[in-house]
Symmetry: C2
Subunit: 296 residues, 2 copies
Amino acid sequence: MNESELLKKILPVFHIASDVTVPPGDDCAMLEFGGKYLLAAADQLISNVHYLYDTAPELVAAKLLKRNLSDIAAMGGIPRWALLTLAVKGRSDEWLERFFAGLEDCAEKYNTAIVGGDLAGLPNDLDCASLTILGEAEPDKVCLRKNGQVGDHIMVTGQLGDTFYTQHHLNFIPRLKEGRFLAENGLTRCMMDISDGIASDLPKLLEQSGKGAVVALEKLPCCNGCTVEHALSDGEDYELLFTVAPEKVDLLYKLWNFDVPLSCIGKITEDKGLIYTLNGKAIDNLEITGYEHFNA
Amino acid sequence: MNESELLKKILPVFHIASDVTVPPGDDCAMLEFGGKYLLAAADQLISNVHYLYDTAPELVAAKLLKRNLSDIAAMGGIPRWALLTLAVKGRSDEWLERFFAGLEDCAEKYNTAIVGGDLAGLPNDLDCASLTILGEAEPDKVCLRKNGQVGDHIMVTGQLGDTFYTQHHLNFIPRLKEGRFLAENGLTRCMMDISDGIASDLPKLLEQSGKGAVVALEKLPCCNGCTVEHALSDGEDYELLFTVAPEKVDLLYKLWNFDVPLSCIGKITEDKGLIYTLNGKAIDNLEITGYEHFNA
Protein backbone atom coordinates (compact mmCIF):
# COMPACT_ATOMS: atom_id res chain seq x y z
CA MET A 1 0.00 0.00 0.00
CA ASN A 2 1.15 3.56 -0.57
CA GLU A 3 0.63 6.27 2.04
CA SER A 4 -2.79 7.37 0.74
CA GLU A 5 -4.11 3.82 0.65
CA LEU A 6 -2.74 3.12 4.10
CA LEU A 7 -4.24 6.32 5.52
CA LYS A 8 -7.64 5.30 4.14
CA LYS A 9 -7.39 2.13 6.19
CA ILE A 10 -5.87 3.74 9.27
CA LEU A 11 -7.88 6.93 9.75
CA PRO A 12 -11.23 5.17 10.35
CA VAL A 13 -9.57 3.18 13.16
CA PHE A 14 -9.38 6.28 15.37
CA HIS A 15 -12.38 7.49 17.32
CA ILE A 16 -13.27 11.17 17.04
CA ALA A 17 -13.67 12.78 20.43
CA SER A 18 -16.35 15.42 20.89
CA ASP A 19 -13.75 18.16 21.36
CA VAL A 20 -12.10 17.37 18.00
CA THR A 21 -13.65 19.99 15.72
CA VAL A 22 -11.58 19.00 12.67
CA PRO A 23 -10.49 15.34 12.75
CA PRO A 24 -7.31 13.89 11.19
CA GLY A 25 -7.25 14.09 7.40
CA ASP A 26 -6.82 17.83 6.92
CA ASP A 27 -3.53 19.79 7.16
CA CYS A 28 -4.11 20.15 10.92
CA ALA A 29 -6.61 18.85 13.41
CA MET A 30 -8.62 21.51 15.24
CA LEU A 31 -9.30 20.96 18.94
CA GLU A 32 -11.64 22.88 21.22
CA PHE A 33 -9.91 23.94 24.40
CA GLY A 34 -11.01 26.62 26.85
CA GLY A 35 -13.46 28.07 24.34
CA LYS A 36 -10.66 28.58 21.82
CA TYR A 37 -9.47 26.40 18.97
CA LEU A 38 -6.09 24.77 18.85
CA LEU A 39 -4.50 23.57 15.61
CA ALA A 40 -2.22 20.52 15.81
CA ALA A 41 -0.17 18.70 13.19
CA ALA A 42 2.94 16.51 13.14
CA ASP A 43 5.44 15.86 10.40
CA GLN A 44 8.90 14.35 10.13
CA LEU A 45 12.19 14.52 8.26
CA ILE A 46 14.47 11.58 7.51
CA SER A 47 18.03 11.97 6.27
CA ASN A 48 18.52 10.90 2.65
CA VAL A 49 14.76 10.85 2.22
CA HIS A 50 13.86 14.49 2.88
CA TYR A 51 17.37 15.97 2.70
CA LEU A 52 20.89 14.88 1.87
CA TYR A 53 22.89 13.67 4.85
CA ASP A 54 25.49 16.45 4.47
CA THR A 55 22.94 19.29 4.44
CA ALA A 56 23.72 22.05 6.93
CA PRO A 57 21.98 21.15 10.21
CA GLU A 58 20.46 24.64 10.50
CA LEU A 59 18.68 24.09 7.19
CA VAL A 60 17.45 20.65 8.24
CA ALA A 61 15.98 22.00 11.47
CA ALA A 62 14.39 24.96 9.73
CA LYS A 63 12.91 22.72 7.03
CA LEU A 64 11.31 20.51 9.66
CA LEU A 65 9.70 23.46 11.40
CA LYS A 66 8.69 25.17 8.15
CA ARG A 67 6.98 22.03 6.81
CA ASN A 68 4.81 22.12 9.88
CA LEU A 69 4.28 25.88 9.74
CA SER A 70 3.07 25.36 6.19
CA ASP A 71 0.29 23.17 7.62
CA ILE A 72 -0.74 25.95 10.00
CA ALA A 73 -0.68 28.39 7.06
CA ALA A 74 -2.95 26.06 5.09
CA MET A 75 -5.61 26.29 7.81
CA GLY A 76 -5.39 30.09 7.90
CA GLY A 77 -4.01 29.79 11.42
CA ILE A 78 -1.39 31.35 13.69
CA PRO A 79 1.51 29.20 14.98
CA ARG A 80 2.19 29.14 18.73
CA TRP A 81 4.30 26.21 19.98
CA ALA A 82 6.27 23.22 18.75
CA LEU A 83 7.70 20.00 20.20
CA LEU A 84 10.59 18.11 18.63
CA THR A 85 11.93 14.60 18.88
CA LEU A 86 15.26 13.76 17.31
CA ALA A 87 16.88 10.36 16.88
CA VAL A 88 20.39 10.31 15.41
CA LYS A 89 23.55 8.32 15.15
CA GLY A 90 26.94 9.56 14.07
CA ARG A 91 26.21 13.25 14.59
CA SER A 92 28.76 15.37 16.44
CA ASP A 93 27.94 17.64 19.36
CA GLU A 94 28.61 20.53 16.98
CA TRP A 95 26.04 19.21 14.51
CA LEU A 96 23.46 18.88 17.26
CA GLU A 97 24.15 22.36 18.63
CA ARG A 98 23.86 23.85 15.15
CA PHE A 99 20.63 21.93 14.58
CA PHE A 100 19.06 23.36 17.73
CA ALA A 101 20.36 26.88 17.10
CA GLY A 102 18.86 26.71 13.61
CA LEU A 103 15.57 25.47 15.02
CA GLU A 104 15.41 28.35 17.48
CA ASP A 105 16.31 30.93 14.80
CA CYS A 106 13.49 29.70 12.63
CA ALA A 107 11.10 29.46 15.58
CA GLU A 108 11.78 33.08 16.56
CA LYS A 109 11.25 34.22 12.99
CA TYR A 110 7.77 32.72 12.97
CA ASN A 111 6.77 33.50 16.57
CA THR A 112 6.80 29.87 17.61
CA ALA A 113 8.13 28.66 20.96
CA ILE A 114 9.86 25.28 21.19
CA VAL A 115 8.35 23.82 24.37
CA GLY A 116 9.41 20.19 24.54
CA GLY A 117 10.89 17.13 22.98
CA ASP A 118 13.21 14.19 23.29
CA LEU A 119 16.59 12.98 22.06
CA ALA A 120 17.42 9.34 21.34
CA GLY A 121 20.20 7.36 19.76
CA LEU A 122 19.71 5.19 16.66
CA PRO A 123 21.40 1.91 15.75
CA ASN A 124 22.17 3.16 12.20
CA ASP A 125 23.81 6.29 10.79
CA LEU A 126 20.63 8.15 10.15
CA ASP A 127 18.63 11.12 11.41
CA CYS A 128 14.95 10.82 12.16
CA ALA A 129 13.35 14.04 13.34
CA SER A 130 9.71 14.65 14.15
CA LEU A 131 7.97 17.88 15.03
CA THR A 132 4.51 18.66 16.32
CA ILE A 133 3.21 22.15 15.71
CA LEU A 134 0.46 23.78 17.74
CA GLY A 135 -1.37 26.89 16.64
CA GLU A 136 -4.62 28.73 16.82
CA ALA A 137 -7.54 29.28 14.48
CA GLU A 138 -11.15 30.43 14.59
CA PRO A 139 -13.95 28.06 13.59
CA ASP A 140 -15.61 30.72 11.42
CA LYS A 141 -12.37 31.43 9.51
CA VAL A 142 -10.53 28.12 9.41
CA CYS A 143 -9.84 26.79 5.90
CA LEU A 144 -10.63 23.13 5.29
CA ARG A 145 -10.15 20.80 2.36
CA LYS A 146 -13.85 19.91 2.39
CA ASN A 147 -15.12 23.43 1.71
CA GLY A 148 -14.62 23.60 -2.07
CA GLN A 149 -17.77 24.74 -3.93
CA VAL A 150 -18.74 24.21 -7.54
CA GLY A 151 -17.61 27.18 -9.64
CA ASP A 152 -14.84 28.22 -7.22
CA HIS A 153 -11.62 29.31 -8.87
CA ILE A 154 -8.63 27.15 -7.94
CA MET A 155 -5.67 29.28 -6.98
CA VAL A 156 -2.05 28.62 -6.10
CA THR A 157 0.62 30.84 -4.59
CA GLY A 158 4.17 30.99 -5.91
CA GLN A 159 5.73 28.70 -8.47
CA LEU A 160 5.59 24.93 -8.75
CA GLY A 161 8.18 22.26 -9.45
CA ASP A 162 11.97 22.18 -9.63
CA THR A 163 12.14 22.19 -5.83
CA PHE A 164 15.27 20.10 -5.39
CA TYR A 165 17.79 21.74 -7.72
CA THR A 166 16.69 25.24 -6.74
CA GLN A 167 17.03 24.25 -3.05
CA HIS A 168 13.45 25.46 -2.64
CA HIS A 169 12.80 22.31 -0.59
CA LEU A 170 15.14 23.80 2.04
CA ASN A 171 14.76 27.53 1.50
CA PHE A 172 11.02 27.87 1.03
CA ILE A 173 9.06 30.38 3.09
CA PRO A 174 5.94 28.96 4.72
CA ARG A 175 2.99 31.02 3.50
CA LEU A 176 1.78 32.00 6.96
CA LYS A 177 1.09 35.65 6.17
CA GLU A 178 -0.72 34.78 2.98
CA GLY A 179 -2.77 31.98 4.56
CA ARG A 180 -3.77 34.20 7.46
CA PHE A 181 -4.67 37.05 5.11
CA LEU A 182 -6.94 34.76 3.08
CA ALA A 183 -8.68 33.41 6.17
CA GLU A 184 -9.05 36.73 7.98
CA ASN A 185 -10.54 38.44 4.96
CA GLY A 186 -12.93 35.60 4.24
CA LEU A 187 -11.45 35.14 0.76
CA THR A 188 -11.37 31.38 1.12
CA ARG A 189 -12.64 28.66 3.42
CA CYS A 190 -10.98 25.89 1.42
CA MET A 191 -7.20 25.55 1.47
CA MET A 192 -4.33 23.07 1.78
CA ASP A 193 -0.61 23.22 1.27
CA ILE A 194 1.08 21.54 -1.68
CA SER A 195 3.62 19.11 -0.32
CA ASP A 196 3.31 16.13 -2.70
CA GLY A 197 2.55 18.02 -5.92
CA ILE A 198 -0.82 19.25 -7.21
CA ALA A 199 -1.46 15.96 -9.02
CA SER A 200 -1.45 14.22 -5.66
CA ASP A 201 -2.75 16.99 -3.40
CA LEU A 202 -5.62 18.50 -5.41
CA PRO A 203 -7.44 15.11 -5.56
CA LYS A 204 -7.35 15.03 -1.73
CA LEU A 205 -9.10 18.40 -1.60
CA LEU A 206 -11.59 17.30 -4.26
CA GLU A 207 -12.35 14.06 -2.47
CA GLN A 208 -13.07 15.83 0.80
CA SER A 209 -15.17 18.44 -0.98
CA GLY A 210 -17.02 15.76 -2.95
CA LYS A 211 -16.31 17.67 -6.15
CA GLY A 212 -14.18 17.54 -9.31
CA ALA A 213 -11.98 20.05 -11.11
CA VAL A 214 -10.70 21.22 -14.44
CA VAL A 215 -7.07 22.41 -14.41
CA ALA A 216 -5.71 24.46 -17.33
CA LEU A 217 -2.13 23.33 -17.79
CA GLU A 218 -1.08 26.51 -19.60
CA LYS A 219 -1.84 28.44 -16.42
CA LEU A 220 0.45 26.43 -14.15
CA PRO A 221 3.24 28.62 -12.74
CA CYS A 222 6.08 26.27 -13.72
CA CYS A 223 9.28 27.12 -11.88
CA ASN A 224 12.23 27.89 -14.22
CA GLY A 225 10.24 26.65 -17.19
CA CYS A 226 10.02 23.08 -15.89
CA THR A 227 7.56 20.77 -17.62
CA VAL A 228 3.92 20.71 -16.55
CA GLU A 229 4.42 17.07 -15.53
CA HIS A 230 7.17 18.19 -13.20
CA ALA A 231 5.19 21.17 -11.85
CA LEU A 232 2.26 18.86 -11.13
CA SER A 233 4.15 16.00 -9.55
CA ASP A 234 7.25 17.41 -7.86
CA GLY A 235 7.09 17.25 -4.07
CA GLU A 236 7.80 20.00 -1.55
CA ASP A 237 6.41 23.13 -3.16
CA TYR A 238 4.94 24.21 0.18
CA GLU A 239 2.73 26.66 -1.64
CA LEU A 240 -0.94 27.20 -0.85
CA LEU A 241 -3.69 25.65 -2.94
CA PHE A 242 -7.07 27.25 -2.30
CA THR A 243 -10.43 27.96 -3.85
CA VAL A 244 -12.15 31.33 -4.21
CA ALA A 245 -15.78 32.03 -5.03
CA PRO A 246 -16.04 33.78 -8.44
CA GLU A 247 -17.49 36.96 -6.90
CA LYS A 248 -14.47 37.30 -4.60
CA VAL A 249 -11.70 36.91 -7.19
CA ASP A 250 -11.50 40.62 -8.02
CA LEU A 251 -11.34 41.52 -4.35
CA LEU A 252 -8.59 38.93 -3.83
CA TYR A 253 -6.40 40.46 -6.54
CA LYS A 254 -7.15 43.96 -5.29
CA LEU A 255 -6.17 43.17 -1.69
CA TRP A 256 -3.25 40.84 -2.50
CA ASN A 257 -0.23 42.85 -1.44
CA PHE A 258 2.44 40.15 -1.17
CA ASP A 259 5.55 39.55 -3.26
CA VAL A 260 4.29 36.04 -3.91
CA PRO A 261 2.53 35.59 -7.28
CA LEU A 262 -1.01 34.25 -7.48
CA SER A 263 -2.21 31.97 -10.26
CA CYS A 264 -5.71 30.84 -11.10
CA ILE A 265 -5.20 27.34 -12.51
CA GLY A 266 -8.75 26.04 -12.85
CA LYS A 267 -12.22 25.61 -11.43
CA ILE A 268 -14.13 23.29 -9.15
CA THR A 269 -16.75 21.23 -11.00
CA GLU A 270 -19.80 19.22 -10.03
CA ASP A 271 -18.52 16.21 -12.01
CA LYS A 272 -16.03 14.34 -9.89
CA GLY A 273 -12.57 13.58 -11.24
CA LEU A 274 -9.72 15.84 -12.26
CA ILE A 275 -9.52 16.90 -15.91
CA TYR A 276 -6.42 18.58 -17.32
CA THR A 277 -6.84 20.85 -20.33
CA LEU A 278 -4.34 22.59 -22.62
CA ASN A 279 -5.74 25.70 -24.25
CA GLY A 280 -9.27 24.39 -23.78
CA LYS A 281 -8.67 20.82 -24.99
CA ALA A 282 -8.74 17.88 -22.59
CA ILE A 283 -5.40 16.09 -22.19
CA ASP A 284 -5.40 12.49 -21.06
CA ASN A 285 -1.90 11.20 -21.67
CA LEU A 286 0.00 12.95 -18.87
CA GLU A 287 2.16 10.68 -16.75
CA ILE A 288 1.83 12.18 -13.32
CA THR A 289 1.57 10.59 -9.96
CA GLY A 290 2.59 13.01 -7.23
CA TYR A 291 5.46 12.56 -4.88
CA GLU A 292 5.50 9.56 -2.57
CA HIS A 293 7.30 10.16 0.76
CA PHE A 294 6.19 6.85 2.23
CA ASN A 295 7.90 3.93 0.62
CA ALA A 296 8.49 1.32 3.28
CA MET B 1 28.03 14.52 25.69
CA ASN B 2 25.27 12.40 27.20
CA GLU B 3 21.63 13.46 27.00
CA SER B 4 21.65 15.41 30.29
CA GLU B 5 24.77 17.36 29.33
CA LEU B 6 23.39 18.04 25.90
CA LEU B 7 20.06 19.21 27.28
CA LYS B 8 21.87 21.63 29.57
CA LYS B 9 23.40 23.19 26.48
CA ILE B 10 20.29 23.04 24.33
CA LEU B 11 17.50 24.17 26.64
CA PRO B 12 18.87 27.69 27.20
CA VAL B 13 18.90 28.17 23.40
CA PHE B 14 15.10 28.33 23.29
CA HIS B 15 13.24 31.50 24.17
CA ILE B 16 10.37 31.19 26.65
CA ALA B 17 7.20 32.77 25.32
CA SER B 18 4.92 34.60 27.78
CA ASP B 19 2.21 31.96 27.37
CA VAL B 20 4.58 29.16 28.39
CA THR B 21 3.73 28.71 32.08
CA VAL B 22 6.06 25.72 32.57
CA PRO B 23 9.01 25.75 30.14
CA PRO B 24 10.85 22.68 28.75
CA GLY B 25 12.72 20.73 31.42
CA ASP B 26 9.82 19.21 33.34
CA ASP B 27 7.82 16.10 32.35
CA CYS B 28 5.52 18.32 30.28
CA ALA B 29 5.43 21.95 29.29
CA MET B 30 2.36 23.88 30.42
CA LEU B 31 0.86 26.38 28.00
CA GLU B 32 -1.81 28.98 28.64
CA PHE B 33 -4.55 28.84 26.03
CA GLY B 34 -8.05 30.26 26.26
CA GLY B 35 -7.73 30.77 30.01
CA LYS B 36 -6.98 27.07 30.48
CA TYR B 37 -3.70 25.21 30.72
CA LEU B 38 -2.50 22.73 28.17
CA LEU B 39 0.16 20.11 28.94
CA ALA B 40 2.44 19.04 26.09
CA ALA B 41 5.24 16.49 25.87
CA ALA B 42 6.87 14.41 23.17
CA ASP B 43 8.73 11.12 23.35
CA GLN B 44 9.90 8.47 20.93
CA LEU B 45 10.53 4.76 20.50
CA ILE B 46 13.26 3.22 18.35
CA SER B 47 13.35 -0.47 17.45
CA ASN B 48 16.18 -2.38 19.13
CA VAL B 49 16.70 0.57 21.47
CA HIS B 50 13.36 0.74 23.28
CA TYR B 51 11.97 -2.65 22.22
CA LEU B 52 13.09 -5.73 20.34
CA TYR B 53 12.36 -5.66 16.63
CA ASP B 54 10.05 -8.69 16.83
CA THR B 55 7.87 -7.28 19.64
CA ALA B 56 4.14 -7.41 18.83
CA PRO B 57 3.24 -4.13 17.11
CA GLU B 58 0.27 -3.56 19.43
CA LEU B 59 2.66 -3.56 22.39
CA VAL B 60 5.05 -1.16 20.66
CA ALA B 61 2.26 1.31 19.89
CA ALA B 62 0.84 1.06 23.41
CA LYS B 63 4.27 1.54 24.96
CA LEU B 64 4.83 4.70 22.95
CA LEU B 65 1.52 6.17 24.06
CA LYS B 66 1.91 5.01 27.68
CA ARG B 67 5.39 6.56 27.97
CA ASN B 68 3.81 9.86 27.10
CA LEU B 69 0.78 9.30 29.33
CA SER B 70 3.21 8.72 32.16
CA ASP B 71 4.47 12.28 31.62
CA ILE B 72 0.93 13.62 31.90
CA ALA B 73 0.46 11.54 35.08
CA ALA B 74 3.64 13.04 36.52
CA MET B 75 2.17 16.54 36.23
CA GLY B 76 -1.10 15.47 37.87
CA GLY B 77 -2.86 16.13 34.57
CA ILE B 78 -5.55 14.64 32.36
CA PRO B 79 -4.67 13.38 28.87
CA ARG B 80 -6.67 14.64 25.91
CA TRP B 81 -5.07 14.20 22.48
CA ALA B 82 -2.03 12.70 20.78
CA LEU B 83 -0.21 13.00 17.46
CA LEU B 84 2.02 10.27 16.04
CA THR B 85 4.74 10.14 13.43
CA LEU B 86 6.05 6.79 12.29
CA ALA B 87 9.02 6.06 10.04
CA VAL B 88 9.62 2.43 9.12
CA LYS B 89 11.19 0.14 6.61
CA GLY B 90 10.51 -3.54 6.12
CA ARG B 91 7.19 -3.58 7.96
CA SER B 92 4.24 -5.33 6.34
CA ASP B 93 0.81 -3.77 5.89
CA GLU B 94 -0.38 -6.20 8.57
CA TRP B 95 2.27 -4.95 11.01
CA LEU B 96 1.22 -1.36 10.36
CA GLU B 97 -2.48 -2.12 10.75
CA ARG B 98 -1.83 -3.94 14.01
CA PHE B 99 0.32 -1.04 15.22
CA PHE B 100 -2.48 1.47 14.62
CA ALA B 101 -5.17 -0.80 16.05
CA GLY B 102 -3.04 -1.21 19.18
CA LEU B 103 -2.54 2.53 19.39
CA GLU B 104 -6.27 3.17 19.20
CA ASP B 105 -7.06 0.47 21.79
CA CYS B 106 -4.65 2.07 24.22
CA ALA B 107 -5.88 5.58 23.37
CA GLU B 108 -9.48 4.59 24.10
CA LYS B 109 -8.47 3.02 27.37
CA TYR B 110 -6.94 6.28 28.55
CA ASN B 111 -9.50 8.70 27.02
CA THR B 112 -7.01 10.07 24.53
CA ALA B 113 -7.90 10.88 20.92
CA ILE B 114 -5.32 10.39 18.17
CA VAL B 115 -5.70 13.55 16.10
CA GLY B 116 -2.85 13.65 13.63
CA GLY B 117 0.45 12.38 12.42
CA ASP B 118 2.60 11.33 9.52
CA LEU B 119 4.04 8.20 7.94
CA ALA B 120 7.41 8.04 6.20
CA GLY B 121 9.74 5.42 4.80
CA LEU B 122 13.28 4.87 6.11
CA PRO B 123 16.39 3.81 4.22
CA ASN B 124 17.20 1.12 6.84
CA ASP B 125 15.23 -1.72 8.44
CA LEU B 126 14.25 0.19 11.52
CA ASP B 127 11.23 1.74 13.21
CA CYS B 128 11.33 5.27 14.54
CA ALA B 129 8.10 6.39 16.17
CA SER B 130 7.40 9.68 17.88
CA LEU B 131 4.34 10.77 19.80
CA THR B 132 3.24 14.10 21.19
CA ILE B 133 0.74 14.03 24.01
CA LEU B 134 -1.54 16.93 24.91
CA GLY B 135 -3.41 17.17 28.16
CA GLU B 136 -4.84 19.51 30.69
CA ALA B 137 -3.81 20.70 34.15
CA GLU B 138 -4.58 23.50 36.58
CA PRO B 139 -1.86 25.94 37.62
CA ASP B 140 -2.80 25.59 41.31
CA LYS B 141 -2.58 21.78 41.22
CA VAL B 142 0.12 21.02 38.67
CA CYS B 143 3.07 19.05 40.05
CA LEU B 144 6.53 20.31 39.12
CA ARG B 145 10.04 19.05 39.72
CA LYS B 146 11.02 22.37 41.26
CA ASN B 147 8.54 22.22 44.14
CA GLY B 148 10.41 19.94 46.54
CA GLN B 149 10.68 21.37 50.07
CA VAL B 150 13.16 20.56 52.83
CA GLY B 151 11.72 17.88 55.10
CA ASP B 152 9.34 16.46 52.44
CA HIS B 153 9.10 12.69 52.36
CA ILE B 154 10.20 11.18 49.05
CA MET B 155 7.67 8.64 47.83
CA VAL B 156 7.50 6.21 44.94
CA THR B 157 4.61 4.16 43.54
CA GLY B 158 4.95 0.49 42.62
CA GLN B 159 8.16 -1.50 42.39
CA LEU B 160 11.48 -0.59 40.83
CA GLY B 161 13.91 -2.46 38.60
CA ASP B 162 13.80 -5.69 36.62
CA THR B 163 11.74 -3.97 33.94
CA PHE B 164 13.04 -5.87 30.92
CA TYR B 165 12.74 -9.53 31.95
CA THR B 166 9.36 -8.98 33.58
CA GLN B 167 8.17 -7.23 30.38
CA HIS B 168 7.19 -4.34 32.62
CA HIS B 169 8.78 -2.01 30.05
CA LEU B 170 5.94 -3.05 27.70
CA ASN B 171 3.12 -3.91 30.09
CA PHE B 172 3.35 -1.10 32.62
CA ILE B 173 0.27 0.95 33.48
CA PRO B 174 0.79 4.70 33.37
CA ARG B 175 -0.07 6.09 36.81
CA LEU B 176 -2.67 8.55 35.57
CA LYS B 177 -5.27 7.84 38.26
CA GLU B 178 -2.67 8.00 41.00
CA GLY B 179 -1.05 11.19 39.67
CA ARG B 180 -4.40 12.89 39.29
CA PHE B 181 -5.44 11.81 42.79
CA LEU B 182 -2.27 13.28 44.30
CA ALA B 183 -2.70 16.58 42.46
CA GLU B 184 -6.44 16.95 43.04
CA ASN B 185 -6.12 16.29 46.76
CA GLY B 186 -3.19 18.65 47.16
CA LEU B 187 -1.02 15.82 48.52
CA THR B 188 1.93 16.85 46.42
CA ARG B 189 3.05 19.71 44.20
CA CYS B 190 6.35 18.02 43.31
CA MET B 191 6.35 14.96 41.05
CA MET B 192 8.05 13.34 38.07
CA ASP B 193 7.93 9.93 36.47
CA ILE B 194 10.81 7.48 36.78
CA SER B 195 11.95 6.61 33.28
CA ASP B 196 15.74 6.43 33.61
CA GLY B 197 15.96 5.04 37.16
CA ILE B 198 15.87 6.93 40.46
CA ALA B 199 19.64 7.38 40.46
CA SER B 200 19.29 9.44 37.30
CA ASP B 201 15.84 10.96 37.81
CA LEU B 202 15.87 12.02 41.46
CA PRO B 203 18.91 14.29 40.90
CA LYS B 204 16.90 16.11 38.18
CA LEU B 205 14.13 16.80 40.69
CA LEU B 206 16.67 17.87 43.32
CA GLU B 207 18.46 20.17 40.92
CA GLN B 208 15.26 21.95 39.94
CA SER B 209 14.18 22.20 43.57
CA GLY B 210 17.63 23.43 44.61
CA LYS B 211 17.73 20.80 47.35
CA GLY B 212 19.38 17.51 48.30
CA ALA B 213 18.09 14.17 49.56
CA VAL B 214 18.82 11.18 51.73
CA VAL B 215 17.55 7.88 50.31
CA ALA B 216 17.31 4.81 52.58
CA LEU B 217 18.27 1.86 50.41
CA GLU B 218 16.50 -0.68 52.63
CA LYS B 219 13.22 1.03 51.80
CA LEU B 220 13.51 0.71 48.03
CA PRO B 221 10.72 -1.49 46.63
CA CYS B 222 13.02 -3.75 44.63
CA CYS B 223 11.08 -5.76 42.04
CA ASN B 224 11.49 -9.55 42.41
CA GLY B 225 14.27 -9.04 44.92
CA CYS B 226 16.58 -7.34 42.41
CA THR B 227 19.63 -5.56 43.81
CA VAL B 228 19.35 -1.97 45.00
CA GLU B 229 21.81 -0.99 42.27
CA HIS B 230 19.42 -2.43 39.72
CA ALA B 231 16.33 -0.85 41.34
CA LEU B 232 18.09 2.53 41.31
CA SER B 233 19.48 2.40 37.80
CA ASP B 234 17.18 0.30 35.65
CA GLY B 235 15.27 2.32 33.05
CA GLU B 236 11.57 2.28 32.29
CA ASP B 237 9.91 1.91 35.66
CA TYR B 238 7.30 4.50 34.69
CA GLU B 239 6.39 4.85 38.34
CA LEU B 240 5.76 8.19 40.07
CA LEU B 241 8.39 9.86 42.21
CA PHE B 242 6.93 12.61 44.40
CA THR B 243 7.41 14.48 47.64
CA VAL B 244 4.91 14.91 50.44
CA ALA B 245 5.02 17.39 53.32
CA PRO B 246 5.42 15.51 56.65
CA GLU B 247 2.03 16.71 57.92
CA LYS B 248 0.27 15.21 54.88
CA VAL B 249 1.80 11.74 54.96
CA ASP B 250 -0.85 10.24 57.24
CA LEU B 251 -3.62 11.67 55.06
CA LEU B 252 -1.93 10.26 51.96
CA TYR B 253 -1.89 6.72 53.36
CA LYS B 254 -5.45 7.10 54.64
CA LEU B 255 -6.80 8.24 51.26
CA TRP B 256 -4.63 5.97 49.08
CA ASN B 257 -7.08 3.47 47.71
CA PHE B 258 -5.14 2.03 44.75
CA ASP B 259 -3.73 -1.46 44.21
CA VAL B 260 -0.36 0.15 43.63
CA PRO B 261 1.95 0.09 46.68
CA LEU B 262 3.44 3.26 48.08
CA SER B 263 6.95 3.49 49.53
CA CYS B 264 8.61 6.28 51.43
CA ILE B 265 12.27 6.03 50.41
CA GLY B 266 13.79 9.15 51.91
CA LYS B 267 13.62 12.85 52.63
CA ILE B 268 14.46 16.13 50.97
CA THR B 269 17.38 17.94 52.65
CA GLU B 270 18.76 21.45 52.64
CA ASP B 271 22.26 20.14 51.84
CA LYS B 272 22.53 19.56 48.13
CA GLY B 273 23.63 16.19 46.83
CA LEU B 274 22.10 12.76 47.07
CA ILE B 275 23.16 10.54 49.97
CA TYR B 276 22.30 6.84 50.09
CA THR B 277 22.05 5.18 53.50
CA LEU B 278 21.66 1.55 54.55
CA ASN B 279 20.04 1.15 57.97
CA GLY B 280 21.12 4.66 58.88
CA LYS B 281 24.73 4.43 57.65
CA ALA B 282 25.89 6.39 54.61
CA ILE B 283 26.95 4.24 51.65
CA ASP B 284 29.37 5.66 49.13
CA ASN B 285 30.52 2.75 47.04
CA LEU B 286 27.41 2.09 44.95
CA GLU B 287 28.00 1.81 41.22
CA ILE B 288 24.92 3.41 39.77
CA THR B 289 24.46 5.68 36.86
CA GLY B 290 20.87 5.56 35.62
CA TYR B 291 19.79 4.40 32.23
CA GLU B 292 21.03 6.28 29.17
CA HIS B 293 18.61 6.23 26.22
CA PHE B 294 20.65 8.70 24.21
CA ASN B 295 23.84 7.21 22.94
CA ALA B 296 24.50 8.66 19.53
